[in-house]
Symmetry: D2
Subunit: 344 residues, 4 copies
Amino acid sequence: MTTASVVGGSGFTGGELLRLLSGHPEFDVVQATSRSYENKTVGSVHPNLRGMGLRFSDPADLESVDVLFSCAPHGVSMEHVDAYREAADTVVDLSADFRLESEAQYDEWYDGHDRPDLLADSEYALPEVNRENLPGADLIAAGGCNATAAILGLAPLFDHDVLTGAGRIVVDLKVGSSEGGAGGGAASSHPERSGVVRPYAPTGHRHEAEIEQFLGTGVSVTAHAVDMIRGASATCHVYPEQPVSTGDLWEAFRGSYEDEPFVRLVAGGSGVYRYPEPKAVAGSNDAEVGFELDPGNRRVVVFSAIDNMMKGSAGQAVHAANVALGFEETAGLEFPGLHPVGAP
Amino acid sequence: MTTASVVGGSGFTGGELLRLLSGHPEFDVVQATSRSYENKTVGSVHPNLRGMGLRFSDPADLESVDVLFSCAPHGVSMEHVDAYREAADTVVDLSADFRLESEAQYDEWYDGHDRPDLLADSEYALPEVNRENLPGADLIAAGGCNATAAILGLAPLFDHDVLTGAGRIVVDLKVGSSEGGAGGGAASSHPERSGVVRPYAPTGHRHEAEIEQFLGTGVSVTAHAVDMIRGASATCHVYPEQPVSTGDLWEAFRGSYEDEPFVRLVAGGSGVYRYPEPKAVAGSNDAEVGFELDPGNRRVVVFSAIDNMMKGSAGQAVHAANVALGFEETAGLEFPGLHPVGAP
Amino acid sequence: MTTASVVGGSGFTGGELLRLLSGHPEFDVVQATSRSYENKTVGSVHPNLRGMGLRFSDPADLESVDVLFSCAPHGVSMEHVDAYREAADTVVDLSADFRLESEAQYDEWYDGHDRPDLLADSEYALPEVNRENLPGADLIAAGGCNATAAILGLAPLFDHDVLTGAGRIVVDLKVGSSEGGAGGGAASSHPERSGVVRPYAPTGHRHEAEIEQFLGTGVSVTAHAVDMIRGASATCHVYPEQPVSTGDLWEAFRGSYEDEPFVRLVAGGSGVYRYPEPKAVAGSNDAEVGFELDPGNRRVVVFSAIDNMMKGSAGQAVHAANVALGFEETAGLEFPGLHPVGAP
Amino acid sequence: MTTASVVGGSGFTGGELLRLLSGHPEFDVVQATSRSYENKTVGSVHPNLRGMGLRFSDPADLESVDVLFSCAPHGVSMEHVDAYREAADTVVDLSADFRLESEAQYDEWYDGHDRPDLLADSEYALPEVNRENLPGADLIAAGGCNATAAILGLAPLFDHDVLTGAGRIVVDLKVGSSEGGAGGGAASSHPERSGVVRPYAPTGHRHEAEIEQFLGTGVSVTAHAVDMIRGASATCHVYPEQPVSTGDLWEAFRGSYEDEPFVRLVAGGSGVYRYPEPKAVAGSNDAEVGFELDPGNRRVVVFSAIDNMMKGSAGQAVHAANVALGFEETAGLEFPGLHPVGAP
C-alpha cells in the first residue's frame, strides 16, 4: 500500500480526500492534520466518517509518507512546502499556490508568492487536458474548481479550431456554498445564503488567471452563488469566427472526450436531464459537458457541470495522484452519484 | 371604486393579482374565474387568501367590470380577447399574446397569431421605459418576466449611448420554479427540480423577441432554472465600443432610474447584499439593478433582479393599470419584501 | 402619530419591526439603534428597507418616544430596562426577560434575573389568549415564537375541557434558521444547516417554561431545525382522558378562534394545503391551527404554524402594542403572505 | 456471479437498486424493466447511471435470474408474484405487499390482499432485528422506510425492558420528497413542496401497522413532509414506566447495536452533528440512532435517521439479499455518504 497523509483534514476538501483515500484500493491513510481539531476524531467533524478511527494530529508533526495531500488554504502551502516535500515523495497541493506559472501572475491575481523558485517545478493537474505531464511529478497543483469547469467546456473548441481566441468569451458561473469552505460569516449563514442568486465575483475572479493561462486567451468570468452546497456550473457563451454546425461541435467534443472515464457529453435528448447539471454529478468525480448552437446569434453555448468538492478538488487530486503514481485512473473514484438527489 | 376581475385566477399569477387587487385602495375585485376550480374558494387554492370570501366562477360568464386582468395562458387571451373587451373598458393581459408588434414575430417565435389586427392597438407595458404610452390605453400587454429583467438592466446603456448595438450582448438568466406555473410534470417535481442549475432554454428563449423588439438589437439569451421559487436574475455581459468609466455607468443608471419608485441601484458597497439579488426583492414590486466594470476585458456586467411574480407579472400589471387609469403609481404595491427570506 | 424606536434594529427581529412600524398608520419610527452598525443605513443591513432613510444610532443615546421596542438579546433588556422606561411611556420587550412570572423560573430555565422586582409589573403578550391584560400596560413581554405556536394549538383544548392536564403532552417543534438570529457559527452555515432535520433542543427547551406557565401543566418539548428560514411548526400529541369527537374538537377550536383576526382553522379539506403549514403564513401575522383525531390511539394531534419573525416576534409585538394603545388590532399587520412561496 | 434483475427500474428505488447492484461484487445485473421507458437506456432516466449500458425491457418478459428485486408499487407485486418466483429463485420485494403477517391487517390498512396464502411464507427484512430469519428465504419483504426508522429507534428499549408497551409512544416523522416517488402532482411540485413542514399523514400512516406488528404494541404515528429529497427522521417520545438513567439507555442501545455494521449511536458530544440527522447518512446504508433523557418529564426521546432510498428501501433490500444468500453483509453497501451535503 502507498501511504498518504492529508494536511488540513478538517475542512470540507480535507474530509472528501479522507473519504476517497480511505476507500481507495492503493492508499493507506496514516495521518490527517488539523490545527483546530487536534486529537478529535475525524468523524467528529465529518459525520459520514464516524466509522474511521483516525484522529487529527498537529500539522507541525508530519509523518513520513509516500504522498502528502495538502488542503491548506491559499498562501499556507507555499509557506510549508519544504516541510511537505521533506515528509513525502509526492506532494499534491489543492490550493492555488502552485497553479500559475509565473511570479508575475501571483502579483497580479493573488498577494504575491513566497517561493517563485518552485513554480517551474510544479505540474498543474487537470488530467483530461494534460495528463501527459503527470507521471512521476512530485509537486502537483490540482486545478481549481471553477477553472476546471470552464476549461473542460472550452478546451475542445480550441483544440478543434472552432475558436481561435479572437472573439469574446463569457464564462458565467453558478456555484455552491461549499466553495466558501467550512465556517464562514454572515454572508454564508443559512438565512442569508439560502435561495440566493448572488453575484459574488462580478469580475476579477482569480480562476480567470488559470483559465487564461491554460487556454491562452482572455475570458470574461462572472461568478454567482446559488442555492446548492456542492456543484459548479459554467455556461460559456462563445462566438466562433467561422460558421460552425452542430455536427462540427459533436466532432470536437467527442474528439476530446470520448475515451475519458470522467467526462460525459450531455446535449439534448429527452427526459428531465438534457444538459449538464451539477446535481447529476454530485458526489462523483464525473464532469458533464454539453452545448447548443444558436445560429441566429452565431453563438455556441457550452455547459459544464462538476461537483466542486470532487472533480473540482478532492477527486481531481486523487485522479492526478493516480496518474502520477501509475495507478488505475479511476481507482477510488468509481462512485457514480445519486438519483434523485437534491442540493447536495 | 374601480371594479376588476381576474381571468385565470387559480394560477400562480392569478393568485398574486388577487392578493394585490384585494389590498389595493382603488380596486374592488368582483370576479375571479377558473375552469378547474369553479365554485371553490380562492383560499382553497391560494392559502394566503383564505380570508377572502370570493369563489372562482366560470370564465364563460364574465361580469362587466372596469378592468379585466387576464392570466390565461399564451394563446388563450387572443382567442377570448373580444369577450374580454366586451366585458371591460380596460383589458390588461399578462400573457405574451399582445407583446410583440407584428404577426411575423409571432410566426417566428410562437405558434402564429389569431388576431394580428389588434397588435397595433395594444400597448406593451414596462412602465419604467414606456409609461408615456399607457394613460388611457385599453389593451395592455404586461411585459414578460425575463424580458423585464433584461430590459431594465440594458436600457440605460442604450439610452445613454454606452451601447449602440454593434457588440455582442449575452443575457444569462437564472429563474425560479414559479415561472413554470402551477402543476407541472416530472421536471418540476420537487426531487428533480430541487438544487438544480438546469439550462432549460439554452438558446431561443421566447423573451429574446421582446428584448430585441424593445432594444432594437440582437441579444444572446440563455435561461437556467435554479433553486428558488420566485425570482428572475439577469446577468448581462456587454462590451461597449468606446471606453467607459464607472462614473459614466453611474450617470447612465442614475439618469434612467433615480426617480423611479420601483427601481433600486445596488452596485458594490459593504455588507451581505452588494449587487442585485432576487431574494432582496421577493414579494415586492421592486427591481434591483447594478453593474460592475471589468476594465481588463473592456466589459460591463449588469445585474438585474426581480420577483417574477411581481415586477415580472402581477405587480407589473397593476403598475401598468395604475398608470393607465391615473392612480398613484405605487398604489397597492407598497409591500417592501422581507428580510431574512429564503427561496421565496 | 405615535413615535416609536427600535433598540437592536440590525438583527432579524429588529428589521421586521422596522418594516412593520414604517408601514403602520399610527407609528412614526424616529430611532433604530445598533452597536455594530452605528451610522449605517437601515437598508445596508436589511436590503428590503433600502428605501428607508433611517440610520442606526448608538443604543446609549435613546431618544424620547412614546413606544420603545427592544430587540436586544435575552439578558440585555433586563440590564437596560430603566433606560428604556425613562425614554418611553410604553416598553415592548421581545426578549424572554420579562415573560416568566417569578425569579425562581429564571433561576431554573435561564441564568437568573437582575430585576425580579419588575416581573410582577410586566404583561406577557399573546393577545389571542390574554388580550384583556394589555390595554394600558407599560412593560410588555411579547410571547416567544415556539411558545406561541404551542400555546395557540393547546389552549383551546384546556379552555374547553378536552384536556385537564392529567395526560402526557408532546410538543414536537420544527423551526427555521432565522430563530438562530443573524450571524452564527458553523452549525448555522449554509453547507451545514441546509437540508437538516436536526434535533437542536432534544429536551429542556426554554420555551417549555412559558408553555407550562401559561397552560398550568407540564409539556414535553423537543425542537428540530429544518430547512426553512422563517417558520415555526408545532405538532402537539395529546391523549384526552375522556372520549372526544371531531365535532367536539371543532367546537373547541371555533369557540376559541372564530373571531380572531390572526388565527385560521385549517383541518382537512381538499387541495394541497390541508393542515397548518408555516409557508402558508410566511410573511404574515397569521397563525394556522388545525387538528386530527386518531381514534385508534385515543389521540388528538394538533398542528400549529406561524412565521416566527411575525406572529412569533415582531408581528406579535406590534399586535400587542396595538391592543395596549387602543389602535385597530390589525393595524400595520394586514399583509396576507405570498403564494407560491418557498422556504421563506 | 449471481444474476439479478430489477422490476420497476425506472422509479427512484429502482434506480438506487441498479446503482447498488452494478457496483456489487457478487451481482451481475441482467435486466431492468419499465413499462414507461421500454428500450430507453437506464441513464436516460437516472443521470448518474449514464455510464451503464443497460436498457429497460418489458416487465412481461422476465428473464431467468438468481434474484429478482421488485420495485413495483404496492398491489402490483402481489399480482405478479407467481411470475417473479418463476423467473427467480429468490424474490426481494420492496413494496408493502408481503410485509404484514395476516390478511386481516391488509384489510385494515391497505386495500386487502390477493395472495394471502403467501403471507406466511414471506420474511420481513429489517436485518438488524431479524437477520436470523433471512438465510435461505426465497420471498423477502424489505421493511418500509418510516417503519425502519421507528423500529430501529424503539426496538432496543423493548429488548432491554426499558419499555413494556404500557405507555404512550409518539412517533413523529419528518420525511423527504423522494418518498412520494417519481412524477407526482401539484402537491409535490417544486413551488408547492419546497420549504414545507406539511403534515401529510396526520394519523393512520400505513407504516404504523408494520411498527406495531414488530414491536407488539400500539404507536401513535404522525408524518410530516419537510424540505429534503432523501431522508426519514423519526423522533420517538416514550415514557418508561420505571425510572431510567442515561447509563441504562446507553446499555440498551449499545447492547443492541454495538456490533451492527450499519447502525451508529450518536447522542450528544460536541460539534455540529450531535444527534441523528438524515443528511449525515444520505447516500449511505447507515442508520443513526440516538437519544436524550428528559428527567423532568420522565420521558426518553429517541432519534433515528436514515436515507429512505437506502436503509429505507434499496439498501435494505441488498442488505437482506446479502444475508439471504450468504454474502458479506456490507457487500455493495460501503459508500459512507458525503460531507458537506445539502438536502440530498
